[in-house]
Amino acid sequence: MHEHYADAIADPDCIRLGPDLVCLRFEVMKVRSALGAVRHLLATEAVRPGDTLVDSSSGIYALALALACHRYGMRCHIVGSTTVDETLRVQLEILGATLERMPPSDDLMLDQNRRVERVGRLLLENPGFHWMRQYHDAIHYVGYREVAEQLDREVPGGPLTIVSGVGTGSSTGALACYLRAAGRDVRLIGIQPFGSVTFDAGHTADPDMIIAGIGSSIEFRNVRHELYDRIHWVSFEYARAGAVALLRDSGVFAGLSAGAAYLAAEWERGRSEGRTVVFLAPDTGHRYVRAAFAAHAQVPGIAGLAPHEVADSDGIALPWSVADWAASAPSPDDALPVPARAPSGST
């Protein structure tokens, strides 16, 4: 029995789609991250019940943090964009979170800077506020420890290949860290949209649209590049083909990043003898009905699709490319994420 709705929607399901293929399916994956972060802050007494947790977000992290605050008796304040949609806005209001909406420009870096400026002023004026910094603070890894433990139980023994979109880097980074620390042989495969700077593809662009929730035009400290073995860059068109194929083949109704992960996971299966390939489906497909699923009859199957295999990110090309990433073997010293905040003066 779950103690709270947030716990229920944060728990993933392991779904076996083949003898060597598993879908780790979430309803809202970021709730797992927010719950773990808030629990960690309370346990370490970095915050007290009733304090206010603040961050900038215009998307699913805002809802995840509001739910985690509801779960643990905290206040929640979000600095977001005027583009926050009605579905999110009303949920935040009813959950008791407060939302400041700032007009966006077409430059994400400047928008983020202006929102951080606003968060900074709030923090100076309100000593009871705590800045979550979802992109940079490794406390957002902590909640995935239980997911790694669940995966270790439900897919016992044998080497794993984990395939997932990389957004803030917390879910993929944490799963690799915790499973490797538990002694599992894990290959980590990241999925990126074209145009994302996270793995050096800022020089490219997708003519259709960016896959929501993965990739970025700014650097995130929670992306630990050294953890990744291979990166796939997938276009919207091919991610959509993956999402439709996932629903058609398995009944799993999930979003575009899950579609891209399914596409890449199927390709990785052919190159992963003796390994179980686990791909992540971080959310449901409801947000993507019009953009991805409605024209399913015109969407090609994925059996005939193949990536450009390139040496590095300089050579990537639409609609799908893959390159080994210059990953170094993690040392015992950096195997586990360190819950950190960030800079201040040092010695």
Binding site: T44, A46, M109, L110, Q112, N113, R114, V116, E117, V119, G120, R121, L123, L124, P127, F129, W131, R133, H136, I139, E219, R221, H225, E226, D312, A326, S328, D333, D334, L336, V338, P339, A340, R341, A342, P343, S344, G345, S346, T347
Partner: protein, 265 residues
């Protein structure tokens, strides 16, 4: 792309000011000490969770829990700001990682045009404001106190002439205490973000200078390489070695290509 690690090499003699610049200088710099040496030298104290005091140059500072107590490395910067070897008079100065506010106070005393104090830790920024108001008062240069994540949160469209940056760049998890990690152990990515944002948002004036202080307990060569790759020239302003260990601490002046020289030791 990642670079191979040569951590643990015994350092050669310290590279003195004037010996070399830029990539020639980079080639002479020491590699990072071994993990065991770094752990032996850095024994983080949990006193950061207590209320403390600090006295320097006749000024008394009050340190609430979580605000960092300066060490010898910090004082290498403080003394050089105070005696003018790192000039700030009439200039727009930014203290990156304001801590308890010593740099801001000294820049106020030295007559900076404006003092920006940035720190990700809100209580450090509040502490800087309190010390600045008490020691400098309202007759000194204006203080702009910002809770910011490196440069994220610094106002767009503004520039500075002088920056001091003492990054918490040790890459070993010396502690699982987040306060200690925040102050000591954030690795080279803090330097990456510092230089990326400084350049991409054009925050440093054309003749501006960054005074960067970093030791071979951190990925010193990689951090200098990041600065060079970001388009800065590098020279040594001061090098300090310490009795009883192999630590070398370098104070670098970093300028955009074509910038004037300055900062003497």
């Amino acid at each position: 792309m990642r670079r191979p690690s040569h951590a643990g090499h015994k350092p050669g003699p310290p590279v003195q000011p004037g010996t070399a610049t830029d990539w020639d200088l980079h080639a002479l710099l020491p590699h990072t000490l071994s993990a065991d040496e770094i752990r032996a030298i850095n024994n983080p104290s949990r006193a950061i969770h207590e209320h403390r005091t600090y006295t320097w140059n006749g000024w008394d500072f009050d340190l609430p829990p979580g605000v960092f107590h300066p060490g010898e490395t910090s004082r290498l910067v403080h003394t050089r700001l105070l005696d003018g070897r790192l000039p700030v008079a009439g200039l727009r100065y930014a203290a990156m990682g304001a801590g308890l506010g010593v740099e801001a106070v000294v820049a106020g005393v030295r007559g900076a045009g404006v003092v920006y104090a940035l720190d990700v830790h809100p209580e450090s920024v509040r502490t800087t404001v309190r010390h600045y108001e008490r020691i400098i008062g309202t007759d000194g240069p204006p203080l702009v106190a910002l809770v910011a994540d490196v440069w994220e949160g610094f106002p767009d469209g503004e520039q500075v002439d002088v920056v001091t940056f003492n990054p918490p760049a040790i890459e070993l998890p010396l502690s699982d205490d987040p306060e200690i990690v925040r102050n000591l152990c954030l690795g080279r990515d803090i330097a990456t973000r510092f230089f990326d944002q400084l350049v991409s948002r054009d925050l440093l004036a054309p003749d501006g200078v960054v005074y960067l202080i970093v030791s071979n307990t951190a990925p010193l060569r990689d951090i200098v390489a990041l600065a060079l790759e970001a388009g800065f020239g590098a020279e040594v302003v001061h090098v300090q070695d310490w009795p009883g260990d192999d630590v070398q601490t370098y104070l670098f002046a970093l300028r955009r290509a074509g910038g004037r020289s300055g900062g003497k030791d």
